[in-house]
Amino acid sequence: MTHAEKTVAALKEKFGDVIEQVIHFRGETSVGVRPEGVIEVLRFLKESPDLRYTFLANLTAFDDWPEEPRFNVIYQLREMSLPADFRVQVRVHGDAPELPTATGVYLNANWHEREVYDMFGLTFTGHPDLRRILMPSDWQGHPLRKDYPLGYEEVEFTFNFKEIEKKKPYAKE
């Protein structure tokens, strides 16, 4: 029985109704968790003396737009002594993109959640300092959303050189 299997068994026993699905892919195990139970699950994984996932290696997200629930937040946990990796995945609906913050469990979730907020517009309720971390503070929108425009500028060729040149905002002295 591997450490991941042990983790899944313990989670199913304690949080049976919160666990949505268990995914095995290429020897890695992920557990889908409902948004309302994610903090309890993380706290259990960290503080249980049998599991000991003491390190939040990564916290990130991806966008499944136009499917709903579109946002998937991923908590990548690590057990340092074996070592063993484990993944907790939460699907968040696009209508109210909100999650409780994990900073109370893992302190380093602070900047990771700021990045997810910056890139996807997910609000982490209870976060101590939810500001943009990568984009300028006056930026409009959240760039890693799939429905965010790419901000593409038309490429200059010989045939359209003049009309693009007119629009190009050259700097003055």
Partner: protein, 160 residues
Amino acid sequence: MGLEQKLGNMGVVTTTLETAINWGRTNAMWPMLFGLACCAIEMISTVMPQNDLSRFGMELMRASPRQSDLMIVAGRVSRKMAPVLRRLYDQMPDPKWVIAMGDCASCGGIFNNYAIVQGVDEVVPVDVYVAGCPPRPEALLYGILTLHEKVKRETMKDWA
């Protein structure tokens, strides 16, 4: 007999003020390093002994805008970096010149998206564009020498 033909005896050179000043400016140009991406590596190797930028009076790159008169923008400028770039340019004392090194600084290069400024000429006035991704040290040297040619053509009317 003109004065020029007596030069050897007199130990005097006559020239115009513009030529003398431009001669001084081209041969003691102090570049500010503005390495933002992979072009910075090529800029560094331009200063290293094999290419030896100090042959042209550019002994060392200054990290301070107040001590420099040439800004070499080496790499892509993100929208977050653009205000910083402009501020550093404004801090440089006159006369000052800008070289956009590489495709990204010249026109955005391969990064045609929301995060990257499409050419640093949207932020600061550029004198010389150096093409390449990244340009070899020889290309940057050629760009700097091209700038020298440009500086040598400057007249008093331009400074006023």
